[in-house]
Subunit: 298 residues, 4 copies
């Protein structure tokens, strides 16, 4: 990746600086940008196919990108593409792969012997299950509990990986003379490996679908471990297509969506009417969401 | 699922008999057909949109379906849809989910406590890694080795599941008075669970994409465990759309594809010319494939 | 379609009443529901795979569907599917086909002779191009202009169709004896046909993607002619999955999305601060959108 | 497009030479490569994620690409992407758009006034409809007929375009003072335009799906006009990824697929048994296909 090539293609100077660099995530993971296609100008160019206009100033480009994002005109954002090499725990990979509009080449545990690498959470991540949010965290465990939990996770994973090695090394005792085969099939030897085992893949996706991925996986509702990857990808997007990144933050990530009933509540509030959850007609969850977005004290 | 409803929709009488039944797969898995749309006649009907012909006889329907399958006219097969409830080990689910043209709702290990159910291979599956095929099996292990392997897999999985229970039961010792929170977050407690853990999902796919799934996963190259599911699905397709099933077997599953160079070899053979791998110009792998399909002794 | 079958599948009683009926759209078009899979309960059932709960009351079903819609949990809505037969002008079909997540079988103008049926707008649709909205309508034409426009459209289309017939009837004068071939190839004879020519297709889509289609095509920004189809589909959805329909209207169709900057404006308004477009920091378009949604007089 | 940039990304030197060039197709159409991602080496690199091997020699790369193509391991080919600007008649665009796995930005006839450009076939394309192949061509028309047909097509298209201009120029006679609106809405003025009208779009697709497009649209079964575009794209692929192109030609484009029953016929032929269509058990169409592929005289 140190080589430099000459190209007539659009480039993103900031993203070029990052190409091939391994950006660390969690304890053994990484994200590495392998390739990309397009930049902010390419989005604008595709959008302008509609009316054949020539190159415009940067400020006009920003205005058009804001317009596209605000009105969910998504197809121009599909005109950019990125390919990354990712190393990630399998339980993260299982959430990630649910995004179907992407291309993937993953290490095969049938074909290859997997490295002994598994994820152990950072101490600050060890919290009680939230009592009111089924996908949420409560208070941190006590220091003693944390030590105990980590030790249990590490010891079990070490043991399973040791047995994985044992299974792969089984000798075929009946064919002593011609030791052509040995080891349990890799496809079965790996079935006890923990979900924390690291895997690797090449992942290619267009910008529109990447933004959708980020809106779900960089959100506070996402599990910390996949969020750690999403945040790196978020920074990559910022370098790659800064105008699109800014529009995405303003119109999607930090914006808000209201239902017809919630709009009616806002109108009443603006008219000076006092509204409570009871009189709002909203569910508790939606009311809390409204108050959070509008920074109303409940 | 015992209730009977009246519908004007097309039905598949044979598949109706199976609706809601759990068909066992592996040691704890199952496939259960939840719903379906369309039948052989619906495929024919969609194909005939092109020329508006009325209902034809069964034999003409078979002819049209054969024609569609032979010429890879795939869109009419997309007009049928099936939805199944599946219980399967996570390592199988990871192969399965690579088929992107499907809809999935899976049990969430962040949201729910997972049942203590893991896959243990049947004894006959315990073989040495093939020495020449990276994804293949060699001879069976010795009986002693098999017992030893199974014991190791079972013991490790049992231990990890016991610790999973322990982690979920951690008491919050600092909030004795108001025991509102307990247990490590489910999203982390599960990370050491083995890839053999059973998961469940609803999976919905159209017939065209299901046939593609079957052509890869009911193949002898597929891992035994996913093939066990594919074979059940194969039988379901046979009941559901028997004409399509027969065409699929003839034109796809048990047919063969030859390269330009392989066609040239066949032409030489038909002309009475003797051809060996060396004089064929084919790679060893392609030559073997040719001989297998034509049942030529090498 | 008059026959009644017995099925164990979930049904939608209201939609059954409509199966096979041609619902008229525009001057010669129609939508006819051919088949469907699932209902509101099927969505709930798929969503509950996560936590294995049994059947709940209708009100709890509605609550869960509202929750799914509010939080854009889209996969359960993919578990329902509908198949319709549509007759529509080609310029409408060209907008419609941009929705890629659907299956289509269309009449082929290469294979079949197309019927002489073309769309002529209703008089009230004949308006001036809006001077400020590139996709919008202004005032209606004068009655004389309308008559003139319709006459021009009709006369030209009639002439082209007459010539289409002529081209298809060309006699092969050089093969008088064995008149096996005649007519210009259908694939070329049709190239002058107008974009208003009616075509037909079978179209199959899942409910999630149908709702996305409706959010764009039943919108006032959509061209009247495709909106006419979207409105029929909207009513079909209401019969098919009434709880989902209500949630869609409340959370999507009649709700509103605000940017981060627009949220800040609302907060200032709620705090009693006077805000104008200039002081809002919003673009003119976004400011107007905000005022419209909040029913603020500008 | 004349500018040269420095990039660390993989490049295809041959394709760089073509970037931005308009390659003529039909009478007014073109294909222009705007951007691309990846090359033959990128395909190999993605495939090798499985076993982490370093860069290999060109001949080994060719072997791996042949292997991937032969065994329909399609995901590595998805790792390359291309974006082209295309100008094409609408009836071609309607066939083209059926390939859903692509991203498109098209000129909008609602938003823009369309140029007066329509396709007129070359004289040699003017043939009789085949009497036995519903999508095929027979003998050429007589010179007089050709002249007559072309004249009819041209005259009608000219007239419709002239009326299009008339409709767009309608004056709003009632608002004489403030002539802010004029012309029938563009969205309706265009509905009589012929299917031969040229449109333009940006089209982005991955290499796997492009090869699928080519296998259907560069085939002799495709209509001449879309084949003209497919052949240009075929040459572009040859420059871009020559190893993949060669494998595609050998294993897909000029290879052949046989059914189970056809394989049985080949085996009988190889065993010296004489087989006719009657004794083959094959349909007439399949028998002809077999004879053509094996160059057997019927």
């Amino acid at each position: 990746m140190s080589a430099s090539n000459i190209t007539k293609r659009a480039i993103s100077e900031e993203l070029e600086l990052l190409l091939g660099e391994s950006l660390s995530v969690l304890d053994h993971g990484f994200i590495r940008v392998i390739d990309y296609m397009g930049n902010d100008a390419a989005i604008v160019q595709a959008a302008r196919v509609s009316y054949g206009a020539g190159t415009k100033s940067i400020s006009e480009d920003a205005g058009l990108i804001n317009y596209l994002m605000m009105n969910a005109h998504t197809s121009p954002f599909e005109m950019c593409e990125i390919k990354v090499h990712v190393k990630l725990p399998i339980f993260v990979a299982r959430q990630w792969i649910r995004h179907r509009a992407a291309s993937v080449n993953e290490v095969s545990g049938r074909y290859s012997v997997l490295s002994k690498e598994f994820y152990l959470p950072n101490l600050v991540q060890l919290c009680y299950q939230s009592s009111h949010n089924k996908q949420g965290k409560g208070a941190e465990l006590s220091p003693e509990q944390k030590a105990c939990v980590l030790d249990m996770l590490r010891t079990d994973a070490e043991q399973v990986f040791a047995h994985y090695t044992t299974l792969l090394a089984l000798q075929n005792t009946e064919q002593r003379e011609q030791l052509t085969e040995s080891g349990l099939t890799r496809e079965l030897a790996r079935i006890n490996l923990p979900l924390s085992t690291y895997t690797e893949w090449y992942w290619k996706i267009d910008l529109h679908n990447l933004l959708h991925f980020l809106s779900l996986r960089a959100s506070p509702h996402a599990q910390y471990e996949i969020r750690a990857y999403a945040e790196i990808l978020f920074d990559i997007v910022k370098r790659w297509v800064p105008l699109t990144h800014a529009a995405f933050v303003n119109y999607r990530l930090e914006g808000g969506r209201f239902s017809k009933m919630a709009l009616e509540v806002i109108r009443r509030l603006l008219a000076g009417v006092s509204v409570t959850q009871e009189t709002s007609g909203l569910s508790k969850r939606e009311w809390e969401n409204l108050c959070r977005l509008l920074q109303i004290k409940i």
